[in-house]
Symmetry: C2
Subunit: 250 residues, 2 copies
Amino acid sequence: MTGSKATPLRSAPQQPCEPIACAQCGVYRLCLPLGLLEVDLSLLESVVRRKVTYKRGQLIFRPGDRFDFIYAIRSGSVKTSVQTSDGRLQITGFHLAGELLGLSALDSRSYSCEARALETTSACMVEAERLEELAQKIPSIQYQMLRIMSGHIRRDEDLILLLGKRSAEERLAEYLLGLSRRFASRNYSPTQFRLSMSRGDIGNYLGIAEETVSRILSRFQNAGLVAIDRRQVRLIDLGQLEAMACINAA
Amino acid sequence: MTGSKATPLRSAPQQPCEPIACAQCGVYRLCLPLGLLEVDLSLLESVVRRKVTYKRGQLIFRPGDRFDFIYAIRSGSVKTSVQTSDGRLQITGFHLAGELLGLSALDSRSYSCEARALETTSACMVEAERLEELAQKIPSIQYQMLRIMSGHIRRDEDLILLLGKRSAEERLAEYLLGLSRRFASRNYSPTQFRLSMSRGDIGNYLGIAEETVSRILSRFQNAGLVAIDRRQVRLIDLGQLEAMACINAA
DNA sequence: CTGCCTAATTGATTCAGGTCAAAAGCAACA
DNA sequence: TGTTGCTTTTGACCTGAATCAATTAGGCAG
């Protein structure tokens, strides 16, 4: 659990209440404002309360906290996790710039999962109540919210499939390819990137042991599929990785 | 995979286009119309196209089908599943009366999972486009949709935790208790019910082998926690089951 | 009632991946 | 530049649950 010190570490994040301009934001086309007219956009901006910055390992929210904000990641990355009552923790998502956090709280008005920054991360806090009001007035915002939640459900289905039916090797291959795709859609290199998750976190997320992650990554490296130096990754044979993600080509 | 014949079996379901009255529906308070004013309710009813009936094993929709309808279960039960490209199938949900199917299609306009009736099942087909339009006009409908999707995400998180971190025994205990709670909220006995899923389906859903399901149920029975006769279940020691669902008390 | 089909149980054996243990790399910092 | 404290890698061994293989038990058509 990289950076997730046992202590909650909820020291107040930096809070420069600077105004937010979605149009200027680099991930605007992956986020809520996608497809909004300029008028609507400025209304949306009016419910974005402030930009906050979190340091590696810092808590953003945790289960039971009152649901006041949806968080939109501007830069950096965040892990979300849920826990059994006896303390075992399962990471449910690994979120990059442009993604929204806290959507599963809408139903019960309190967060159901914990969110923690994996590296220095900047986010917009969107006032949940006012966003909902706004969604009622502006169809395109409402549509965006529904789309985003629908997409979230779909990604959860993929993770469920992965956890339920795939071998450790397939899980890792799929994981690397998933990152690759997501970096690509953010205009980063799809073949060369830095992992912000530790081996432990990756294993936890994929439902396998940390040691297994290490072993399999080594195996991939020896097979010439990837080059890995600590957290720096280079994908060499995408095709082979894709084959492996489905039919465990061992 | 009970009842899921290899053949799609998409013979047209019975389609009496009878008008629907939500207020008359037994699961009205678990479904979309919850909390709507009478005026709004009749508007909602106007987008409910028809009631359909499916027989055990019959396909409701499958991945790639164009997304035209959200389905609301009136009675019976449905399983949803996703597949790897090499054909392994993972059941992602087991849905009872009052629940909505197809929400993960909203983003891409085509279903991402397959839905199949587990027994004779009756459902309302709600026109997706028109429901979205309506949600834009009627805040309470919109709110309901967001809530329902949020709840869906939350339940997916629970399944992810189960698949990622729990032992086979805990999974079964949790599964039985989950059913119990859901039957209770539908005014059925929480301690005595009939499983509409086969052992194979249950195992698939929980990420364990059919044989393991059988073995563990026998173990539960021997330990006096439950009484099981084929698909008929009686929960005897809820407390013990709850303890087991968390801390594998073996 | 009888035979057939599918679902469920139970036993024996195997294995993927977990757990435990130790060593090696790297980074931060006094 | 050595010390401290991670994170990662690697090895040895173990185990929970999968797989393989019968067997049993209902459900139902004729």
